[in-house]
């Protein structure tokens, strides 16, 4: 079931078209990575879905509610975290969460328990009585995520949640997203750096110049790389001979010697499907080469991203 859907979503700022008839579907329970270069239209899409911005044309629904006519219902089911956000610096951490919980109509009696649970979830229990301005950027980011979770929303709309975080904070954020997915939340997360969210996403959509250029599951997107497959062959000896043998093989497009820290292996680009790889391995062993390892290199999604986008707006 689609929990987020946009149809012909268009947003124009004067003569500039930020979104151009965007049609997007996000299934319930998925972690949908919304990737694109800076200025591609990610934030505009998210702001429309969060009921903050009116589209010029088209329509969007979240959990079946229209973002144009049922704004309050949409706000009830979403937790939104913008790309740039501020915190009230004269507030303590617990006061900050208590304030937003109250803004979500959560009764005063339950807010104390909820605040503690949220702080525990984002690992900030030890900072509950500190002023918000004393928190690090990563902690503020986690606090903002806890704020977005105060009313137990079905859908999380997170705009560049890992931006500006140090490596440790990024890993913590990634773990948190995994935890939230395990809790059954649908997460619509954007980033202009694919590697940042690649590991947590189940689905991905690539946007450029306001248009969705590709969308699908992670497996689908990786499949797109498979017109040309790369295998790493490790041998105990006869490296030069194997290199020569592979160079003459009809299925092999290119071979190179790759030196790692401790060993040297062969990297071959092979045309064909899984059966072609099986045949190649069989023939290699049949030719008497001492094959220690034969593994396919997983294509990085970054390659798909680079292939599909042309950097029009970045």
């Amino acid at each position: 079931m689609a929990i987020i859907e946009t149809r012909g979503l268009t947003k124009k700022y004067g003569r500039i078209t930020a979104l151009n008839e965007l049609n997007l579907t996000v299934e319930e329970g998925t972690v949908f990575g919304f990737v694109g270069p800076n200025g591609a239209g990610k934030t505009t899409t998210m702001r429309i879905l969060a009921t903050l911005l009116l589209p010029t044309a088209g329509e969007a629904w979240v959990a079946g509610y229209s973002v144009l006519t049922q704004r309050r219902e949409v706000r009830r089911v979403i937790g939104y975290m913008p790309d740039f956000f501020g915190v009230y610096e004269d507030m303590k951490v617990w006061e900050y969460l208590d304030f937003f919980a109250a803004c979500y109509d959560i009764p005063a009696e339950t807010r104390r328990r909820l605040t503690d649970e949220l702080l525990e979830l984002v690992d900030l229990s030890h900072r509950r009585d500190d002023y918000v301005d004393t928190l690090s950027r990563g902690m503020k980011q986690r606090l903002c995520l806890a704020r977005a979770l105060a009313h137990d929303p079905q859908v999380l709309i997170l705009d560049e949640p890992a931006a500006g975080l140090d490596p440790r904070a990024r890993i913590e954020m990634r773990e948190l997203l995994r935890e939230l997915q395990a809790m059954g939340k649908t997460i619509f997360v954007s980033s202009h750096i694919l590697a940042e969210i690649e590991e947590v996403c189940t689905h991905i959509g690539i946007i450029e110049a306001g248009q969705l250029v590709a969308a699908g599951t992670m497996a689908d997107m990786r499949q797109r790389l498979r017109t040309q497959r790369v295998v790493r062959v490790q041998l105990t000896s006869q490296l030069e001979e194997a290199h020569a043998w592979l160079t003459t093989h009809p299925a092999v497009l290119q071979v190179e010697l790759v030196s790692d820290n401790s060993s040297t292996s062969l990297r071959a680009a092979v045309a064909g499907d899984d059966d072609s790889l099986v045949r190649l391995l069989r023939e290699l062993v049949g030719a008497g080469f001492p094959v220690l390892a034969f593994s396919e290199e997983t294509g990085k999604l970054e390659d798909v991203f680079l292939r599909l986008t042309e950097g029009i707006v970045s």
Binding site: F84, G86, Y88, E95, F100, C103, A108
Partner: protein
């Protein structure tokens, strides 16, 4: 202990009240700022009152008579009220001018607008703490005004009237600041607009009125008032109404005009004696400027409030 305090503060302050109101009140009263402003405000007013007291006592011979004390009471009362009018006019919009655009600048506006908090609650939550704090400043200065009351020369009615007048002025200038805050994107622009408007209304309008009266009065007296036609007395009535209306637009001119009318013990209305020679009526009743002021600016305040709420409710285009 800490937990118990938090639960208590949640129950007392938080409860299910407007969360923005609670946050703003907490933020405003936290730390020494609120109390410092209040103390400085009262100290300045007290010093000013003392100065008037000694200056008047020194210049009156003999001092301490009933008439002299009554006169002193009137002067102290008028001076304190005048200072309060200026304070309310310029301090109130300064408090609210950053209410909405300050949230935008702090990048917390989007966070608030995606919650279930209705626009009207956000606006009221910003307005009420300002009204509360300004009321605190006005009420804290009551003993100084009360001093004048004890000395004589000031009636209970005048006392109540001044409180109503200050309350309406506070409400109007607070909503004016809020309105500009929802209209522009920066606190600086909103503050400038609010203060310029306040200055125009308080000082600019009375000056403009004086200039207009000075320019038109000789013509009016020479042409209308000496004319025997039936139009002249009607024109005089219209002119009198217009003067009272324009005088009621500014807090300063309203206060001065009301004070003059109060000298004749007229609180709600006064009689205007027509001077036109062919008039069928000798005098007409006109409302006291403070009544027009209260009605006009209360209505305007609610209109500004409604516009502000509508602006906050509407998503960006």
């Amino acid at each position: 202990m800490e937990d118990a305090l938090q639960t208590k503060s949640r129950r007392l302050l938080g409860g299910n009240l407007n969360p923005v109101l609670v946050k703003e009140l907490r933020g405003r009263m936290r730390g020494a700022r609120a109390f410092t402003v209040l103390t400085v405000h009262l100290l300045l007013l007290s010093c000013f009152t003392l100065f008037i007291y000694y200056a008047h006592t020194e210049s009156t011979d003999p001092p301490g008579t009933w008439t002299a004390m009554s006169e002193l009471g009137k002067i102290i009362f008028a001076s304190v009220v005048l200072i309060e009018i200026f304070a309310v006019t310029f301090v109130t919009p300064a408090f609210t001018a950053g209410a909405i655009c300050g949230e935008r600048e702090r990048q917390t506006y989007a966070l608030l607008r995606t919650t279930l908090l209705p626009a009207r609650k956000l606006v009221y939550g910003k307005l009420l703490p300002t009204l509360t704090y300004m009321s605190l400043l006005i009420l804290a200065a009551l003993p100084l005004k009360g001093l004048a009351f004890v000395m004589g020369g000031v009636t209970v009615e005048e006392f109540i009237l001044v409180l109503v007048f200050l309350a309406v002025t506070t409400l109007f200038f607070a909503t004016l600041g809020l309105f500009f805050s929802s209209l522009v994107r920066t606190t600086r622009a909103s503050t400038v607009l609010s203060n310029v408007t306040a200055l125009l209304l308080t000082v600019g309008l009375p000056v403009l009125m004086l200039i207009l009266v000075a320019l038109t009065a000789p013509n009016v007296t020479s042409s209308w008032l000496t004319d025997d036609s039936s139009l002249s007395w009607r024109s005089e009535v219209i002119l009198a109404c217009l003067v009272v209306f324009v005088a009621s637009l500014s807090p300063l001119s309203t206060a001065v005009a009301t004070k003059l009318i109060l000298e004749d013990n007229a609180i709600f209305y006064f009689w205007y004696e027509l001077t036109a020679s062919s008039t069928p009526i000798q005098r007409i009743p006109l409302p006291s400027p403070w009544i027009i002021y209260v009605v006009l600016w209360t209505a305007t305040a609610f209109i500004l409030l409604a516009i502000t709420i509508a602006r906050v409710r509407r998503p960006e285009r």
